[in-house]
C-alpha cells in the first residue's frame, strides 16, 4: 500500500502508457490508433513533469520569500516534446485524410483487403 501511494505519479504514468500502447496495437481504426499514440506520448510527458517536481517547491521564477524551486528543465524539454507530438499528430491526421480519400475507408482491415485484391 505504501508503495502504491508514495509513487502514485508512476502508477498513473504506467496506466496511461499501457492504455495508450494497447489502443495503438489493438484498434484497427486509423484515427483511434492516433488517439492511442497521443495518450502514450502524454504519459511520457507526465513522467517528465512529475520527476521535475520538488516537494514544497514553487514555480521557478525568482521572487522574494521563495527558497525552493521546481526543476524547470523537464518542463522545457516537454514543451519541445509536445510540439513534436503536435507535429506528429497533424501529419498523421493529414495522412488519414488522404488515405480516406484514396481508399474510402479508415479501417485497417478494409484497406488491407483492397490492396490484396489488386
Amino acid at each position: 500500500m505504501e508503495l502504491i501511494l508514495s509513487h502514485y505519479n508512476y502508477w498513473i504514468v504506467i496506466f496511461l502508457m499501457m492504455a495508450g500502447f494497447y489502443t495503438v496495437i489493438s484498434r484497427g481504426n486509423l484515427v483511434k490508433k492516433i488517439v492511442g499514440l497521443n495518450i502514450f506520448q502524454v504519459s511520457v510527458f507526465l513522467l517528465y513533469i512529475s520527476i521535475g517536481n520538488v516537494e514544497g517547491g514553487t514555480a521557478p521564477i525568482v521572487i522574494e520569500g521563495a527558497e525552493k524551486y521546481s526543476n524547470p528543465l523537464p518542463h522545457v524539454l516537454i514543451l519541445t516534446a509536445i510540439v513534436v507530438g503536435i507535429a506528429t499528430t497533424a501529419l498523421a491526421l493529414a495522412l488519414v485524410v488522404r488515405i480516406r480519400e484514396a481508399y474510402g475507408t479508415i479501417e485497417e482491415e478494409e484497406i488491407h483487403e483492397q490492396d490484396q485484391s489488386l
Binding site: I61, L79, V83, A94, V97
Partner: protein, 139 residues
Amino acid sequence: MSHNLILRIISKFLIPLIILFAFYVQFHGDFGPGGGFQAGVIFSVAFILYTLVFGLDSAEKIITPVVLRILASLGVVIYAGTGVASLLLGANYLDYDVLGKTPVAGQHVGILVIELGVGITVASVMILIFYSFAGRDRD
C-alpha cells in the same frame, strides 16, 4: 452562418481580446511564464474562431494560405538568422550576449527576437493546418 447573430457578435468581441492576450503572452515571456509557442497557439485560436463563425472563404480573404506559408518560413528564418547574426558578430551560434551593448541587454534582445520567430511560425502553421483540414472537401 449569417443568421447566428449572437455567435457573430460575441466572437467579434472576443477576437481582439484573444489577440491582445496572445501579444501579452508573447512579449511578457521575458519576465514571466509565456513565450512564442503559447502565444502563437493563442493567436491562431483567434483566427480559427473567426473561421468557424464566418466561414473559410472570408477567413482566407484576410490571410491567404500563400501568405501563411511565407510567414511560417519567415519565422524559421528569423530564428536561424538570429543565430547567424551572433555568428557574424564573432560568438557561437545563438549566443545572445553579443547582440546588445552588455551581455544582459543582449540576452534580452536575443530571446525577444527568437520568441518572435517562434510565435510567427507557430501561429501561421497552426492556422495553415486548420485551413488545410477545413478546406479539404472543398477541392
